[in-house]
């Protein structure tokens, strides 16, 4: 798709429920009005046939004012921070009315903060040219992340709340069982499980529009479930279990789905137009899901191998001293946050913990297992807390949405829900992933070094009373958080300064 690189004085978005008449009449009125005033204008229409003349972040950035004339959602949040007027579409159906709206928009005070996507948009043609590929990828990714974020918050907080009854309160055989807490955990778990499919689906949607949602969701589900293999036969088996590859797999699946749809559209473009309905409801979903599903299952096959390889690797580090072991645990936990690498560290931790609890207090096995578990928990708690620290200290470098998400991450971090950091990481895998790994590693190393023992497999700070050396443990986590947080703020400041230089030049 060739992107329109020209910029305009006025940008506008129009839409109406039917999407046939008023959307386009308002566009005409706005164009007549702008022409009469000697201004250039681009009008994005949200009609029955979809979005046409879509505005780019660079155009939003360059525009002097925005007019929204719509009776439906036209994603006006993109225009935050611009002088803008918003009216119903019927208030924009004559040239005079449209001229008045343009005047009001030009005189309006900008409200809110420019979204990071718009701020980051290249301000002159040369930059746009250079950044096109990188920027489009970023745009697709952001579409996925912003849809995913709310699932993380809803699921994460509900899960965290269930821990208030005790970390095994969902388990009907446990002493702290509570049926309400179990329900909270179930609901929260389902919302969290939707996170990766939603990420994948909306990356796909950004690339291939609505048809891409189907393969996107399916790819995301495969990313979390992996290729199911029967434990008995070792063969692919719909009743077996698989190892997923977490959010990294979701990103791969999202892009794959989007581009498969674009490919199919090209391939089937020769088909007669009266078969369009058939394409939309039959051919696209069927073919794209088949292709994407096969590819995803294919690449998720080796995940189990990575997973067991990592677990063996970790166990082999027993005797290598606190620094190497802590570094390995920290890096693994923060690497893919729920993927095979993170899971390997966590599962190894719980396996060692089970051995430890069987061996009993005072034995070497007990000390090693509980110490290992404390290191894993510390590494899992740090990433969300890093984001909380960063959005508080570096408030102006974050969008409002990120800021609020960072605050919620305080709850998620304190309850060992690492997933809260995923949206931040997805936006900039480099350098955020190494920053998280660094913070987590510091916390793990110190935890091992100070001999903290944690006999609980989950629960974050809620299990502090049973942690032996709890004070030092919290200190280790805080040190990891502050170091990672400072690095994260430094990165965001660099990014912010770069974007603002662009703004001044514009």
């Amino acid at each position: 798709m060739a992107e329109d690189k020209q910029t305009y004085d006025i940008i506008a978005a129009t839409g109406c429920p039917t999407g046939i008449a008023h959307t386009f009449m308002a566009k005409e009125a706005l164009q007549q009005a702008a022409a009469a005033k000697g201004l250039t204008i681009k009008v994005e229409t949200h009609g029955q046939v979809g979005i046409e003349d879509e505005l780019t972040p660079a155009q939003i950035k360059a525009a002097k004012a925005v007019v929204v004339a719509a009776d439906k959602d036209v994603e006006a949040e993109r225009f935050a921070g611009k002088p803008m007027v918003t009216v119903g579409v019927s208030k924009c159906l004559s040239q005079e009315a449209a001229e008045a709206l343009i005047d009001r928009a030009l005189a309006a005070k900008p409200a809110g903060e420019v979204t990071s996507e718009v701020a980051a948009a290249g301000s002159d043609d040369e930059v746009v040219e250079k950044e096109t590929v990188g920027h489009t990828i970023y745009k697709h990714l952001m579409n996925g992340v912003s849809h995913m974020l709310v699932f993380v918050v809803a699921g994460g907080v509900l899960t965290a709340v269930s821990f208030l009854w005790g970390i095994t309160s969902y388990d009907s055989t446990a002493s702290d069982y509570n049926s309400f807490a179990a329900m909270l955990k179930i609901i929260g778990g389902i919302a969290m499980n939707l996170m990766v499919p939603v990420l994948s689906a909306y990356i796909a949607e950004s690339i291939g529009k609505r048809p891409a949602l189907v393969p996107g969701f399916v790819a995301g589900m495969i990313a979390i479930t992996g290729l199911p293999v029967s434990a008995e036969t070792g063969l692919i088996d719909a009743g077996g279990t698989g190892v997923g590859f977490g959010f990294l797999g979701g990103i791969v699946g999202g892009f794959l789905s989007g581009y498969v749809i674009l490919g199919l559209e090209k391939l089937l473009s020769k088909m007669p137009e009266n078969l369009n309905g058939l394409k939309a409801i039959f051919l696209y979903p069927l073919l794209s899901t088949f292709i994407v599903g096969l590819v995803m299952l294919g690449i998720s096959g080796p995940m189990a191998t990575i997973n067991t390889g990592m677990m063996n690797f970790l166990k082999s580090l027993d005797s290598s001293g606190p620094i190497v072991l802590g570094l390995a645990i920290g890096c693994m936990c923060a690497f893919d946050m729920g993927g095979p690498v993170n899971k390997a560290a966590y599962v190894t931790g719980t396996a060692l913990l089970t051995e430890a609890l069987t061996a009993g207090v005072g034995t070497d096995t007990y000390n090693f297992g509980t110490n290992f578990m404390a290191a894993v928990s510390a590494a899992c708690i740090v990433p969300p807390l890093i984001t909380t620290f960063a959005v508080i200290v570096g408030k102006k470098y974050f969008s409002q949405e990120d800021h609020d998400a960072g605050i919620v991450n305080l709850i998620l971090g304190c309850t060992h829900i690492t997933e809260g950091a995923i949206p931040f990481m997805t936006k900039n895998i480099w350098p955020v992933m190494p920053i998280m790994m660094c913070g987590s590693s510091i916390a793990s190393i110190l935890t091992i070094f100070w001999g903290v023992h944690d006999p609980a497999p989950h629960g974050g700070f809620l299990v502090l009373p049973v942690v032996d050396g709890g004070g030092l443990w919290v200190l280790a986590i805080l040190i990891g958080t502050v170091v990672g947080g400072i690095l994260f703020v430094a990165f965001k400041k660099y990014e912010y300064d770069k974007a603002h230089k662009g703004l001044e030049a514009a």
Partner: protein, 151 residues
Amino acid sequence: MSDFVSASNVFLDNPATSCDEALKFLSDKAVELGISSDAAAVLEAFKAREEEGSTGMMGGFAIPHAKSKAIDKAAVEVVKFSGDVDWTTMDEKPVKVAIALLIPDTEAGTTHLKLLSKVAVMLMHADFCKAVLASEDPAQIAQTINDGLDK
């Protein structure tokens, strides 16, 4: 040269005096013209759209539209009224001409949906409105719209 609108879709001297009567007439004609086989469903779709907000415009024009599964193909109907029709309009003047859009509720036929949108946009042009108000010849009115589609 487009022939999207034919003279048989243009009706003159209609005696309707209310919006409901006009919509009823348009729905019945839609069945006669083979655009739909269910007049009641088309009427309901027209009325549903009016309830969301009147389609009365300025200068004596209204642009009612119906989107329904009962509509088999995208089409335009034009009706000129013999008297004034009571219709909520933006300039509070009565309606003299209704240009109705009939929209099938499927994803297919993007091309035809775009033609309907172009008809709507024509109403924003004073020349077009004048030509339709002045003419009493169905073929000529149909031609005026078709010419606009070619632009």
